[in-house]
Symmetry: C3
Subunit: 228 residues, 3 copies
């Protein structure tokens, strides 16, 4: 992790670096919570909970690190993130809402992780020397990757595809693109990044609250969607 942090240090000031680390950690905590809560819904045992929480929390960052060529990925070298995910698993194991009530907290946690990771993922990609559009795409992949892994592992169609899940990729892309623009024009600060994350989280939660639906393709008469 040495060289890329050096690059980052030349581009971003130390307040941003501290904020970046805090943002990553909060994102990990949020996604670990969503993974652990889904594990409760699915009646997994404590080890299954740990695997699902860690995959969700660390998966997006691992994909991003592989895509920018940072090996081994930070999740395997800096054990803070893994430890935080395991701690969250323990907390949720002992104190969680009943299975029936986990849905709300799960989706709030997921939205927070989504918003934080689209910003920090873009910053990591950009600090590895990618252009702003590439950084925005990698930021979006970071944000949605963990949730996709969580959903595929637990046998669900990923939120990012489900039409009943309202806008999902859109807030992530919005936050990532905003961050990439801020970086590109030298206006990225700890607080502007935080604001971008906040807006992405807000868009996602408002989409849930008011059920903003995207249009379906016309003429699709059969709602069962079966494939022979």
């Amino acid at each position: 992790m040495g060289p890329e942090l050096d690059i980052m240090a030349t581009q971003l000031d130390s307040a941003v670096n501290a904020a970046q680390r805090i943002g990553e950690l909060l994102g990990v905590i949020a996604f670990a919570t969503s993974g652990a809560l889904l594990a409760v819904r699915k009646n997994l045992d404590i080890f299954g909970m740990a695997v699902l929480a860690c995959s969700t929390a660390l998966g997006g960052g691992v994909i991003r690190d592989l895509l920018v060529g940072r090996t081994p990925p930070a999740a395997f070298t800096d054990l803070t993130y893994l430890s935080a995910s395991l701690l969250i698993t323990l907390v949720i194991f002992f104190r969680h809402p009943t299975s029936r009530l986990t849905r709300g907290p799960l989706e709030v946690a997921d939205a927070i992780g989504l918003g934080l990771f689209c910003v920090t993922g873009t910053v990591v990609a950009y600090s590895h020397g990618t252009g702003a559009p590439t950084a925005a795409l990698l930021g979006m992949v970071t944000a949605i990757g963990g949730g996709v892994i969580r959903d595929v592992l637990s046998g669900q169609v990923p939120s990012v595809l489900r039409p009943d899940q309202e806008l999902y990729a859109v807030p992530a892309l919005f936050g990532a693109a905003t961050t990439a623009a801020l970086l590109h024009f030298g206006a990225y600060r700890a607080w502007t990044g935080f604001l971008a994350a906040l807006v992405a989280i807000a868009v996602r939660l408002l989409a849930r609250r008011f059920q903003w639906r995207a249009p379906l393709a016309r003429h699709t008469m059969r709602p069962d969607g079966t494939l022979g």
Copy 2:
């Protein structure tokens, strides 16, 4: 993407490079079409369609690039492929057969993508300095990877596994192995590569048309395939 294109330039003439780029783009278009049509079948909204179309069209190439160590993958740095996938999504969104009739076009598009990507994927791997057998394997993975991602994300057993899907990996391997042999013996040209793709596509479509089935393991009496 600089160094590997240099290597490619020393091995392949410019007509081949142009054909390579055209082949990649057509493969992306074909797989994006198959992903968008499956999304229509599954009643996804327009953003779900875009995610599935892009994952299908770009997924195989991203896997290949990760496997040969080209980071970030071309799909994230050269936005032509992403733009083409999004354009296809829009076209399919507004003009597509009814859900009931999408199956035929979906499978033709998938076959075309399969045939083109097994050739271009092998060429990219070979131009990164792998031996011919490794290049053929990576070409096959490129060809089948996007479809596997599409099917796993949308909750289907991948075509490459389904016995009702007739030969799938075989035409991809055939096209990739032919391409690797052509490259190895210095006989790879734009037209020989195109021919290899065409044969792979034809084998796949003929297998569909005439229901060429591979043998099942003997004594498997229970067709439900359930696992307790």
Copy 3:
């Protein structure tokens, strides 16, 4: 594969290198068997069997190689592993228990692969210069990765998550952590590594035999685990 084998050579003696290769090959054979047997259960044809056997046998190692930055992964450059997987597919195709009886052999094969790969995966990661904790994590990922790919491709919830599957990640982590400790303290020999694998296999099989279950989260009243 040159440089990392050099590194390994400086750290490990040649007996360890030979044992490492044998362990990898046996692990590949065990996982290929588990993949091919699951394919029989699922009534896949011979090509589907080959794809599932190879994905299971080579998937964990490919993930590990990507995570440590070894590209192309060994599975694509050293064709021994692929050939062994295809040979196993043929053997299982012609000689296998009836579908109803495949479960026992499948789980024994899976346990053997799990135990061998958690050790060899840790050694490969460590020989690439990662610290002992990172090596242990990568070893665990190597061990469980192939089975996760097998289960996701064939449409099952991965063993590593299922509460009815008793301890799965735990023996893998145990074997990997033991191996990392042995390497760290210079006590890794062919026989100590073999012992670590054996203990991991034994723990996994004993957990199966005596149904050692990990605790579920409290208050999870609904055993169906459905998500709306």
